[in-house]
């Protein structure tokens, strides 16, 4: 059976009985069995749940009933997103045996739309990382270049789709954790606006930044999944009541005359020369499509990493206080309660998580709060204002997704600051709350994928998808 399925292809094949949803799931599990030992993309498989859902879809077909939009589509879920009855580790030893008693809203919506949840994908511990090397369960290999990282933190979700081990997947993005692995693995990957997709059941890292979003092999499939998971959820008070438009219809609109800003600050020193060439070739494609390009300035771009590592670590130090050895997860016994907390957390968390808890606790502590946290919140406001100003005259902003191509496994693990700086083009949109997508924009030496990033204004997902789709259709993926 082919590995190159699209969502529409699956739905059509299942509806016309060319293949049953059960056969399709079995075929994906076979491929996972063949390749996962090498790639390490999946941590847990949910076969029982997947086959039960596949049988429900096959019963609909047999009964001549209408099929939901994702009927039979095999989907993988990042292991920081809760799945009822299916182990959810967050890539951490502290949750090695944790089985959530409920589903995240995004998962519930996917299943209600007919999707078949194959299993849970590897990621950096608590989504903290840019290479997937911070997982307690081992690194993931990049299917396009096995000696390289797949990006992070949603490395397993990106690798699973790129390797044909799922048709689509969910990841989470706090500072670039969907877009950067999408770029590194050569597939489209999208983060909606803050508030567009419910965070209910997403195990929190930094609550003012965390977002759930899809990976797929093409932009239309990304739009299909976004359309299913987006929308108001009473269980997440930050999810917006703004209506969810028909992304698949809107993305077909012609892009001629679309006003695109190219911020000068995203082509600064530190950018790989080969990445630059690909992005410039991608921009030529946009010109040929008749878009109106103009160079713009986003004055506070250079301060985004510093701001991000204050705010994200501060929120993480607070969110991760819940791992105390009492209600779930690991406990390391001691006769004293406080010593039990300390030992449990010291043993259960990995190096990067501890580093961020220490930094986050420090920037919030008495005497340093104003100098760091409050300052960070003020600069965050300036960065968000840069985006609002730009979008007062533009439809979208186009940048590289990452300044560098996928790097070698182990290359950056000893230098946290260098690893953080690799997020320089993605954290800005995270801080501002705007939607962003990474779409494939050629490969360096035919091997290392490059991603083009498109930002839209808050709740402007449709324009982002519209340009991404036009770019893909015009051959942007093979510049």
């Amino acid at each position: 059976m082919s590995a190159n399925w699209t969502i529409d292809g699956v739905r059509e094949a299942v509806a016309s009985k060319k293949v049953s949803a059960r056969e399709l799931a079995a075929d994906f599990y076979k491929r996972i069995g063949d390749r996962n030992t090498d790639l390490n993309a999946y941590l847990t498989l949910s076969e029982e749940r997947a086959y039960a859902q596949a049988d429900r879809m096959d019963a609909l077909v047999a009964g001549g009933k209408p099929l939901p939009p994702l009927a039979g589509v095999p989907i993988a879920i990042k292991d920081v997103i809760s799945t009822r009855g299916v182990r959810t580790t967050c890539g951490s030893k502290i949750l090695e045996h944790y089985i959530p008693p409920y589903d995240a809203t995004a998962v519930e919506r996917l299943e209600a739309a007919g999707a078949v949840i194959l299993g849970k994908t590897n990621c950096d511990e608590f989504a903290m990382g840019s290479s997937n090397e911070n997982s307690a369960y081992g690194a993931v290999r990049n299917p396009e270049a096995p000696d390289r990282v797949p990006g992070g933190s949603s490395g397993g979700s990106a690798a699973a789709v790129a390797a044909g081990l799922a048709v689509a997947s969910l990841g989470t993005d706090t500072g670039g954790s969907i877009r950067q692995p999408g770029s590194f693995c050569g597939i489209p990957a999208m983060m909606g606006s803050y508030g567009r997709v419910s965070r209910y059941g997403l195990i929190a890292f930094a609550s003012s930044l965390d977002r759930i979003g899809p990976f797929a092999t093409n932009v239309r499939d990304v739009a299909s999944v976004m359309g299913v998971i987006a929308g108001r959820d009473a269980n997440d008070s930050t999810s917006t009541t703004a209506p969810v438009p028909d992304y698949r219809a809107l993305m077909e609109k012609p892009v001629k005359g679309l006003r695109i800003g190219i911020p000068k600050e995203y082509f600064a020193e530190g950018m790989d020369a080969e990445v630059r060439k690909k992005i410039e070739a991608g921009i030529e494609v946009l010109k040929k499509l008749g878009c109106e390009l103009r160079e713009i300035h986003m004055a506070h771009t250079d301060y985004a990493i510093a701001t991000y590592y204050i705010i994200a670590t501060a929120e993480a130090s607070s969110n991760l206080a819940r791992y105390d050895g009492v209600r779930y997860g690991l406990r390391v016994d001691d006769d004293s309660l406080l010593a039990m907390y300390r030992k449990t957390r010291g043993a259960g968390f990995g190096a990067e998580v501890k580093r961020r808890i220490v930094l986050g606790t420090y920037v919030l502590s008495a005497g340093y709060y104003d100098a760091y946290y409050l300052k960070g919140q003020k600069v965050r406001a300036l960065i968000a204002q840069d985006f609002r100003d730009a979008f007062s005259k533009l439809d979208v902003i186009v940048t590289p997704t990452s300044p560098i191509p996928p790097f070698k496994l182990g290359e950056k693990t000893n230098d946290p600051l260098q690893m953080y700086l690799a997020d320089i083009y993605t954290v800005t949109g995270s801080l501002a709350g705007v939607p962003g997508i990474s779409v494939p924009c050629g490969k360096i030496c035919g091997k290392l994928p490059v991603g083009l990033q498109i930002f839209g204004p808050a709740f402007g997902e449709a324009s982002v998808l519209q340009l991404a789709h036009a770019f893909e259709q015009a051959g942007g993926g093979s510049v």
Binding site: Y98, R232, T241, V326, F349, A351, S365, K378, G433
Partner: protein
């Protein structure tokens, strides 16, 4: 130097985090470098800038005003306790907190 070893020890204590000698020294060095980098924010004059306390504007969420406080039944207590390292239903058990 932005952060001392005593600072890291104090912060680890606040966060209830056991750190080894090697970890204390490694984090001191690495966090010092990160704080040095973060110091670039002081190049910016943020006088009069309102800190960004939330991402969405008031008219973008349903909860800009208070909702009614309604009790919704949620029968997951048994399942939740199953995840606890040391449950004694209907309680979570912890080491003794109060000394006689």
């Amino acid at each position: 130097m932005k952060i001392s070893r005593a600072d890291v020890e104090r912060v680890a204590e606040l966060a209830y985090l056991d750190l080894s000698e090697a970890e204390l020294e490694m984090y001191r060095t690495q966090i010092d470098e990160i704080l040095e980098y973060i110091g670039k924010l002081n190049e910016l004059d943020t006088t009069g800038v309102q800190p960004m306390a939330q991402v969405l504007a008031d008219d973008q969420t349903a909860d800009a005003t208070l909702r009614d406080d309604v009790v919704v039944r949620c029968d997951v207590a048994t399942e939740i306790l199953k995840q606890a390292p040391d449950p004694e239903p209907p309680y979570f058990r912890v080491p003794k907190v109060i000394e006689r």
